[in-house]
Subunit: 512 residues, 2 copies
């Protein structure tokens, strides 16, 4: 059984393929002391439009430097979708003498094209690895399975890649059987760790005949990450007596753990849900790492994907028949309930006001107001509306949803589907467009607000423990700033608030 | 299959069983919406001498509060080793009406005593769970296996506890078979996550007939922690359609992830090594959480435990025949090499000097000095000595080791065993006694130093990437402070240093 460590290649998803010199040095010199066969150092690629760093292109001087540092067999990988046979000379000729194996990352649909590419690579004298994605769905690709036999004599390793991180040991056995029936090529396995199954899946693969396993230090890799090299080596050391220099191992682990503190790869609830349900990870990684969305929003979106919630039908665009100069936006904070009597008194003093419920949490407290009422429906808010109003048949507000298409998903109760509309666009920010507050502020604009009064925007208190609340508060703070910069209607809070960027005009000051 | 969440009970190892009110509230209200059967809230215990908090004792008002908050069956656990039948009335009478199940955590050696305890608990009307530790070693307890049948009719659940976190699915199958042959009691499994096998082990246990599984939110629990409740629920939701409210789940996960940032539970290389080799976790948790030791030192100690390195034989106590007023301590930093010419010049100006090599890293550079030389042997330093001096047969220094017994392990090359001695004690600090610097400073005291000159104590630079170096630097800073407070000989650095608490007297200033 061989081991391939692809920390720099797969970890690059977190660092845009740039790594500190010291880290690279520590990586290669530590691995010189460790029982690993191949090190995959990065991609070689035609120029891309976005910024991608050193180990995405592996220029010649990198190949030379690494070859000097390392005593291992070295590997680079190509993205099949971006490389054609005519690119090979340019991409791979400089690799001769430095690189031992070239791997191809491919969608099973493109196996035919990949085979042609592989033949070219083979002719140039490299070992060839096929990293075939989406193994949990291979059975759905009839053509692919029947083509597998053609890799014989072309590929040195035929990898099963658990792209979603959702396969179980039983799936490994079944898929290896499928592959073995069709090719005599050596089998590899690249496991993701969404469900913390990367180790047992890899050991199961080896038990059933896999010849090579991928791993990365601290599991660094796209999304939830990979099998941890240190875990695999520790297990093999204890189970089979594989000789491991734990000083070298802890040196390299230390170095990457430091980086992990900053980037935070590894599994978490959103990755677990996407893995368990074979949902694409790319969105999840963006949501998780950019931190614009709370875990709650991500889980909601994934759950919607999973349950195929049909929320993305086009709704009629929200076109209010009437304008309201004075708009009260009711948030979800306890102060909207606590100060409700004063707020209602205040509303009575206004000429032609309306209410927008950013969240329905406090809506029942304002049911008895005669002013027109609008409800922001984001994600699961429809469920809350049902539970707040019990019987929606008497509901006489209007619901407003984010613009189409809505990635984060929205549930519209059947009873109010004829009272639900979507905004045409969010104009004052291009971030967080799916949030309650963005929706409420944009609705206020659509309603012609000249003055916006916030109620129940209590914000975050230092003693509050939930990260969720902290996230929401950060999101709202950002949106308040964006709205103020857009020079729209004036904005202030009537009730106590911890948002430092939100001006306050006490509701009681209006009642004197 | 039932699920028991024991986050507060097992997580308490990290918080001394104190939790914020808000966290507790969020925990119980979130779980009201989740498909979990039992919540184990903590221990009940006789008074202990160390500080242990609210959920270690679960006073009556806690029982009442939790009962009001939660709609689940509630559980407390007793430590068998600390509880006798005569304590039951005092410990458990107040639990009546609040607590449904009482579990007993026990060493398999004490099964007989636990059975008597269980009978008393059963008579008081509680369900009874046996949490039997060390399942990976049960086969070594002959008596225990033959006694298992006696739990019939006494225990409601008989738990296999993977105390070391080192069992594999195959071990689960075998142990369940052993248990099933002996008792008809319902079987439970409590898995630890050192090798990231808690999920697959738990699912395997259920597949082979286990009736109940333990889990904790974010895996919070002693050492590497447990099966993650969110992982188990996500897997069961996807595999079997178990209904999970992901809003409630992400709320409670968010709350504990916040706490995890502070305490940092979860597996890492030291826990992997201890788990894979069934080594006791208690030491490892202390080493890891207190952060006195680098990962490297911990791995070294574990490796020594595993390989039963015989380093703990008593050596002759270090009793120098001669005193040296001027002591140079050579550290491992590059400046000891860089400035060696000046340092050697300086040594020649001294009356009766000697050298202590805290690390052997720079020792070769000072081989040509005629002054007496002493070498600190900590952990693997003996290996370095061998590689620095190639042929130790000409070695004419003396080696000094930490006082007996040496937990962290020390390797003494055979060629110099007659030149190796141990210190009687470390007098100026009771922390970090196994470190190079503690050893070097204490050796200086033993040698009668009036003035200590440090060389190559370069310290940590902000740009340095390794956590290891940061740890070592923190340790040294602490020791320098401790030594200064002990009002021993004067201490300064001759070469450039980043240690802010270390006075500097440039070696060049002495040469003018």
């Amino acid at each position: 059984m061989k081991i391939l460590d692809c920390t720099l290649r797969d970890g690059g998803y977190y660092t845009e393929w740039d790594f500190h010199q010291e880290l690279v040095h520590s990586y290669f010199t530590s691995f010189n002391e460790l029982p690993i066969d191949y090190l995959e150092i990065g991609y070689r690629s035609n120029p891309m439009k976005e910024y991608l760093g050193e180990y995405f292109y592996c220029p010649d001087y990198v190949l030379e430097k690494v070859k000097k540092l390392s005593n291992k067999r070295l590997v680079i990988i190509l993205n099949e979708k971006d490389v054609r046979p005519e690119h090979l000379d340019n991409l791979l000729s400089p690799c001769k003498g430095f690189i031992d194996m070239v791997r191809i990352a491919l969608d099973p649909e493109n196996l035919g094209r990949a085979l042609k590419l592989a033949e070219g690579i083979k002719r140039m004298g490299f070992e060839v690895g096929f990293n075939v994605m989406y193994m949990s769905k291979w059975k759905q690709y009839g053509n692919f399975l029947s083509q597998i036999k053609e890799v014989d004599g072309v590929a040195d390793y035929f990898y099963m890649v658990d792209s979603y991180g959702g396969v179980y040991p039983q799936d490994i056995k079944e898929t290896i059987d499928l592959v073995k029936q069709r090719t005599s090529c050596k089998i590899g396995f690249h496991g993701h760790n969404n469900l913390e199954l990367a180790l047992i899946n890899s050991l199961t693969a080896v038990e059933h005949g896999a010849a090579i396993i991928d791993a990365t230090v601290t599991g660094m890799g796209r999304g939830a990450g990979n099998l941890k090299t240190e875990l695999l080596l520790t297990a093999l050391n204890a189970k089979e007596g594989k000789k491991v220099d734990f000083n070298a191992l802890s040196n390299v682990v230390d170095a990457f753990e430091n980086l992990q503190k900053h980037h935070g790869w590894g599994t978490n609830l959103p990755y677990m849900v996407s893995g368990a349900n074979s949902l694409p990870q790319k969105d999840v990684m963006e949501w998780v790492t950019r931190r614009f969305y709370s875990f709650n929003s991500i889980i909601r979106a994934l759950n919607n994907q999973k349950e195929k919630v049909q929320d993305n039908q086009k709704l009629p665009v929200f076109q209010p028949s009437k304008k309201y100069g004075q708009v009260i936006i009711v948030g979800g904070g306890p102060n909207a309930k606590l100060h409700q009597q004063a707020v209602k008194e205040f509303i009575r003093t206004l000429d032609n006001p309306c209410l927008i419920h950013a969240s329905s949490k406090n809506a029942a407290n304002y049911e008895d107001i005669s002013a027109d009422q609008f409800f922001c429906l984001v994600g699961n808010e429809g469920h809350r509306l049902e539970s707040v109003f019990h019987n929606l048949s008497h509901f006489n507000g209007q619901c407003v949803l984010p613009p189409f298409p809505r990635k984060m998903g929205t549930y519209v109760p059947a009873a109010i589907s004829d009272k639900s509309f979507e905004l045409e666009s969010i104009t004052f920010t291009d971030r967080l467009q799916d949030s309650h507050t963005a929706l409420a502020l944009q609705t206020a604009l659509a309603l012609g607000a000249r003055e916006i009064h916030l109620v129940g925007y209590d914000g975050y208190q230092e003693s509050t423990i939930s990260q969720l609340e902290k996230n929401l508060s950060d999101e709202n703070e950002f949106l308040i700033d964006a709205f103020k910069k857009s020079q729209g209607p004036s904005l202030h809070s009537l009730t106590p608030t911890n948002y430092k960027n939100l001006p306050v005009a006490s509701v009681y000051s209006y009642l004197v």
